[in-house]
């Protein structure tokens, strides 16, 4: 999946780092110091429909259907996350206990067109 550059209008992943200090949460989130709040952004023209960047076979199936039926589908496809990874957090709970946990699907790794 391409990482968004300024001039790139197509579906891509925008990297966005959030520092917990800036949230004022460093007093209870011990590790890490921040995390990537990535998100997906960009256009999904018909020829990119179903191209999630990592499962091309799905894309070719959709593309063949498009060619067989009608070249210009009514609906449009959207730029959405297609792969995410967990975020390990070490934090203090309300009783002052230290909790280490993995929060699933927190960081967008890849974007693609629905």
């Amino acid at each position: 999946t391409p990482t968004c550059e300024l001039e790139n209008p197509l579906c891509c992943r925008r990297n966005y780092y959030v520092d917990f200090q800036e949230l004022g949460w460093r007093d209870w989130i011990l590790q890490p110091e921040g995390y990537q709040l990535n998100y997906c952004s960009g256009k999904c023209p018909p020829h990119l429909a179903g191209s999630p960047g990592i499962a091309a076979s799905f894309h070719s199936a959709v593309f063949n259907l498009l060619k067989a039926n009608n070249p210009w589908p009514a609906g449009s496809s959207c730029c959405v996350p297609t792969a995410r990874r967990p975020l390990s957090l070490l934090y203090l709970d309300r009783n002052g206990n230290v909790v280490k946990t993995d929060v699933p699907d927190m960081v967008v790794e890849a974007c693609g067109c629905s």
Partner: protein, 219 residues
């Protein structure tokens, strides 16, 4: 992307950088609280001492935690040391173990050097509250300790049950053979150090599951 350009996904005018930053920070807060199943950030009134925290964090296994699992370190507050730390009552504030399955628990204690002959016999009881404020002590574990320093004492996870309020009380009872002979004089030696960064703590591993999951599993 600065004022004037349009959002490439939906075409609406892009936000000014500062407004975008504020929005993203708010989204980050919501995403983290939702991921931790919290409605608001915890207010830490009594953070653990930094030295105790640093030492305890070394016990947490590095690397990721398996999904839907949590590792918890809970520091004891010591009440009722009476004559010696060997008869301390350790109180832990655990967010209720309700809807969670505890599958690993160890009590970390710092043992002082005992007399050369001494093996320290340590018994750990859990205070089980009863009706009308009467309660009883249930023996959880017995350990023989032959060396000073930190010791991780395994506790039967099935036995540990926090009260509805999340409070867990453990009563210690330790002695050496030598104590038995000097007990009459009342000079019980200090065998444990429970102050400062030698504060005892519980190391727990919890499988977090949603309410009613048990029924699903049975079905």
């Amino acid at each position: 992307q600065g004022v004037g350009s349009a959002c490439p996904s939906c075409g609406s005018p892009a936000l000014a950088l500062q407004a975008e930053r504020t929005l993203m920070l708010e989204l980050a807060k919501q995403q983290i609280l939702k991921g931790l199943h919290l409605t608001s950030r915890p207010r830490i009134t009594h953070p653990p001492p930094q030295a105790a925290l640093t030492r305890a964090l070394r016990r947490l296994q590095s690397g990721t935690v398996a999904s839907m699992k949590e590792e918890v370190i809970s520091f004891a507050t010591i009440t009722d040391t009476s004559t010696s730390t060997c008869s301390s009552m350790l109180t832990f504030q655990l967010s209720t173990l309700q809807y969670r399955h505890l599958y690993h628990s160890r009590l970390w204690l710092y043992v002082l050097p005992t007399p050369p002959s001494g093996t320290l016999h340590l018994r750990i009881f859990q205070w089980v509250p009863g009706r009308r404020r009467r309660g009883s002590f249930a023996l959880l574990a017995e350990h023989q300790i032959n060396s000073p320093g930190w010791h991780a004492l395994i506790l039967p996870s099935s036995g540990l049950r926090g009260e509805q309020s999340g409070i867990l009380k453990l009563q210690l009872d330790c002695r050496t053979l030598e104590d038995n002979s000097t007990a009459a004089t009342g000079q019980l030696r200090q065998h444990l150090d429970t102050a400062g960064h030698h504060r005892p703590f519980l190391e727990l591993k919890i499988q977090a599951y949603e309410p009613g999951a048990g029924r699903t599993r049975r079905r």
